[in-house]
Subunit: 435 residues, 2 copies
C-alpha cells in the first residue's frame, strides 16, 4: 500500500471455494454498480487457492490465480485482503501477516475471530488497519454494522440469537413433520444444509463462536469460547417438541447473552420460546437476532444465515466500507472494540436463573408425582404447570412440567435425586425456557 | 467550519420538543461512551427552539439556548446541524441554509425528504456536505444504513413495510380485541400512540412518505409522493378483519415497492397477509421492513418505529457516522444516491396485478352469487375460494371471496358493475392481498 490512492481499490482474495468464488464473481459483475454507488473502483486483482484446477462459477484469468498466499499478502498494489480459507490455520497466519504488511482485512471466519480475536484485533490496532467481518455472523444480515454503527449510542442488555441455520432447519422439520432428530439431520444433509460431519452445527459450537463475536461487539467483553456453556440439539426428541407445542412453546437452539449490571451471562442451548414470539416463527435455515438495548428497545434482524450469495453480500459491504476509509486518506481504528470495564465477571452457569421444561418418565403408580414435586420443592423449584400425559409405553407415564424461575444449580441437584428415584425409568429431560 | 478539526465535533440542535430533548439529553449523557466507542468528542453546543420556556427532560445551560436558528446555522464552530423541527417550513430553509453554510445535516423529517428530497440532496451534493436521515424511517431500526451500506452490493426487487406504528396499533387491537376502528383509534389516542388529528397516520400518508425514502435508496428512483397510490385504514371494519382471520390472513397497512425490470410499482394500502408470515406477527406500535434483494434474499428488520429514545438512537448513529467522516478530513458524497437509469417508468395502479379479498353484502335470494361470479369472470377475475357466511342482518348475506391474481383496472370495473346489482345492498369491500 505504498502507492497513492487513485480511487481504485485492489483486492486480493485468499480461499477460492464456494464462498470465495461467489465473492469473486460479484466483485467482477457488480464493478460498475459499486462504482456508481460509491464513486470507487473495486478491482479484484489476485485470487489464491491451493486447488486451482476445480471448476468454479467465476471466470478468473489464469494470470490472476496463484497457489501462494504470500504473493497476495506481499503485493504492494493490494489494499484489501479477503480471507475465506476458514479454520484457524493457516487463516490466522494469513490475517496476521496481511495486517503486518499494511493490508486491511475482510474475513468471514467466525471460528478464527472467536478463538483468536484477541491477537487479531490487537494486530489490527497496532498496524492501524481495519479488520471487518460482517459475514461471520448471520450471513447477509448486517447485524455487526447494526450493533456497532446503527446502535452506537445504546447500552445493550440482551442478545437472543438463532445463529445456526442447520440446527434451526432440523428443529423446524422435527416440529412441522414430526420427524426424529436422526431423520431430520439426514434430510438436512441430503439438501446440503448440514455437513457430513455436522458436529460444529448441531452441538451448538458454531452458535457459541458467533455469540462470542456479538458479545464482544455489544458488551465490549472478550468471551473465552471454552467458557461458554453449550448444549446442542442432538438429544432433543420429537416427543418433547410436541409436548412443548401443546403447551404453547417452540424449541429453538438459542444463543443468549444477557447483562446484569457488572455481570455477563453467555450460553447456548435448546430453549423453549412462547410460540407467539417473533423468534419462534423463524424456521428453516433462516437466522434471526433479537437485540435488547436501552434506546432502541427491542429489535429483530432476520435473514439467511449462510450461503454463497448472502455471504458475498456481507463481504462486499465490508470491502466498500473499507474502501470509503481508504478514499478518505486516513486510517481510523473503528474496528477496535473498546473494552467495557464495567463488566467485571461472567455469571457461572450454576448461578443462572431461568425457567425450565421438564419431562420425567415414571412408572405408573401412586405417589410418583408427589415424590418429584417434593424433591423439586426441597430445591427451591416451584412448579408453574404440570401435565401428566397418557401412557405411551408399557407402565411408563410421561410427566411434563414447566417450572417458575429457578437456579441452575438447584435444578441440577434436584434432577440428580429425581433420576435416582426407583420409579423413574429414563433419564429426565430438561430444557430451559425464555420469556 | 473554518476551524481545524481537533477530534471534537460540535453539534447545533434545532427543534427542542420531545424528540429534540431526547437527542440533547443522550448527546450529553453518552458523551464519554461515544468518545470511548469512536475516539471523537461530540459536543452539543447550541440548542434552538421558538419556545424556550417549557420544561424539558434535558438540562441545557441558558447560554446554550437560542430562539434564532440563524445563530446555529451561522456559528462557525458548529460542524453538524440536527433538524428536528418537523414539517416543511421552516425546516426546508433551515436544512438548505445549513448545507450552504458548510454544515452537515442530520434530520428525522420524513415529510421534508419525501416532498423536497430532490432539492435537498442536490444542495448537499453541491455543498459537498452530508445529509443523514436514519430516524426518518423505522425509528431506531437502522434500515437506511442496512439498505445503503449493509446491502450495497445488492439489486433490490421488493420492499414490504409496516411503516406506521399508529395504524399497526389500531389494526392489531381491532384484530385481538374485536374492537371497531373508532374504538381502537380512541384507545390509541388515549395511550398517546395516535395524534388528536390522526389523518397523516391512518390515511397512509406517513407510510407513503417513508416508502418514497426507502424506494429512493433501494431503487435509486425519486418518487413523487403525489403519485403514490395510497389507501388508509379508516374504512377497515372489524368484520373484515375477522373474516380474513378465518381464512388464515391478517390485515396490515403495507407500504409496497416492487421492481419489475424497468418498471417500479409503489403503493400503500391495507393488505391481507398469510398469518404465518413474519410480517403478520408484527403487532402493536412496532414497525417492520421486509426486503427482497438478489444476494441477501429475504430479510426482515423489526423494532419500534417512533418515540423519543429510538429516534435519539438513530440521530446519534447519524451524528457518529458524520463525525467519522469529518475526522477523516475529507467530505465524501456518500449520501448522494445515484439515479437508477434502468428504471424508466412507474406502473400505474390500474396495471397492478394482485390478489383480492372481496366482501359483498347481498340480499339472500337465489342467483346472487352466480351474478357476482359471472361479472368477475367477464372481467378476467377468477375466484380462488368463496365463503357464503350466515346472515348477519335481516336478509343480507355476506359473501366473502379470495380471487386469483387480477388486474386492478379489471377489478375496479367489475366492482362498479357488481355494486349496481339490485341485490347488492352495501358498497362492496375489496382489500388487496400479498403472498
Amino acid at each position: 500500500m505504498n502507492k497513492k490512492f487513485k480511487n481504485q481499490i485492489n483486492i486480493g482474495l485468499i480461499g477460492f471455494g464456494t464462498i470465495g468464488s461467489g465473492v469473486a464473481k460479484f466483485l467482477m459483475e457488480r464493478r460498475s454498480l459499486l462504482l456508481k454507488r460509491t464513486g470507487i473502483g473495486f478491482n479484484l486483482s489476485l485470487v489464491c487457492d491451493k486447488d486451482l484446477s476445480s471448476k468454479r462459477d467465476a471466470n478468473i484469468p489464469k494470470k490472476m490465480l496463484t497457489r501462494d498466499f504470500n504473493r497476495v499478502i506481499n503485493d504492494p498494489d493490494i489494499h484489501i485482503v479477503v480471507e475465506l480459507v476458514g479454520g484457524i490455520h493457516p487463516a490466522k497466519e494469513i490475517v496476521m501477516k496481511a495486517l503486518s504488511k499494511g493490508k486491511h482485512v475482510v474475513t468471514a471466519n467466525k471460528l478464527l475471530l472467536a478463538a483468536e480475536g484477541g491477537a487479531i484485533f490487537q494486530k489490527a490496532k497496532d498496524s492501524n488497519r481495519e479488520i471487518y467481518f460482517e459475514a461471520s455472523v448471520g450471513g447477509g444480515i448486517p447485524i455487526i454494522k447494526a450493533i456497532r454503527e446503527g446502535m452506537v449510542g445504546n447500552r445493550f442488555s440482551g442478545i437472543f440469537g438463532i445463529l445456526n441455520g442447520t440446527s434451526n432447519y432440523i428443529l423446524s422439520s422435527m416440529s412441522s413433520q414430526g420427524s426424529s432428530f436422526k431423520a431430520a439431520l439426514k434430510e438436512a444433509q441430503s439438501k446440503g444444509y448440514a455437513e457430513k460431519d455436522p458436529s460444529l452445527d448441531i452441538k451448538g459450537l458454531d452458535s457459541s463462536h458467533k455469540l462470542a463475536i456479538l458479545s464482544l461487539l455489544a458488551f465490549g467483553k472478550k468471551v473465552d469460547i471454552n467458557n461458554i456453556f453449550v448444549e446442542g440439539i442432538e438429544d432433543i426428541s420429537n416427543l418433547d417438541i410436541q409436548y412443548a407445542k401443546e403447551l404453547g412453546y417452540v424449541v429453538k437452539l438459542l444463543a443468549i447473552a444477557k447483562r446484569y449490571g457488572n455481570e455477563l451471562e453467555v450460553r447456548v442451548h435448546p430453549t423453549l420460546l412462547p410460540s407467539e414470539y417473533l423468534l419462534s416463527s423463524v424456521s428453516g435455515v433462516y437466522n434471526a437476532i433479537f437485540i435488547d438495548a436501552d434506546l432502541v428497545g427491542k429489535q429483530l434482524f432476520y435473514g439467511q444465515g449462510a450461503g454463497k450469495l448472502p455471504t458475498a453480500s456481507a463481504v462486499l459491504s465490508d470491502i466498500v466500507d473499507i474502501g470509503h476509509k481508504i478514499a478518505c486518506g486516513k486510517n481510523s481504528a473503528k474496528s477496535v472494540i473498546p473494552e467495557n470495564t464495567e463488566i467485571r465477571k461472567f455469571r457461572k452457569m450454576d448461578d443462572v436463573v431461568t425457567r425450565y421444561y421438564a419431562h420425567f418418565s415414571a412408572i405408573d403408580k401412586p405417589g410418583v408425582l408427589a415424590n418429584i414435586a417434593d424433591l423439586l420443592g426441597r430445591h427451591n423449584i416451584s412448579i408453574a404447570s404440570v401435565v401428566q400425559k397418557e401412557r405411551r409405553e408399557a407402565h411408563i407415564v410421561p410427566i411434563v412440567m414447566l417450572t417458575h424461575e429457578a437456579k441452575e444449580s438447584d435444578m441440577q441437584a434436584a434432577l440428580r435425586k429425581i433420576n435416582k428415584l426407583p420409579a423413574i425409568k429414563k433419564k429426565s429431560v430438561v430444557i430451559r425456557l425464555e420469556k
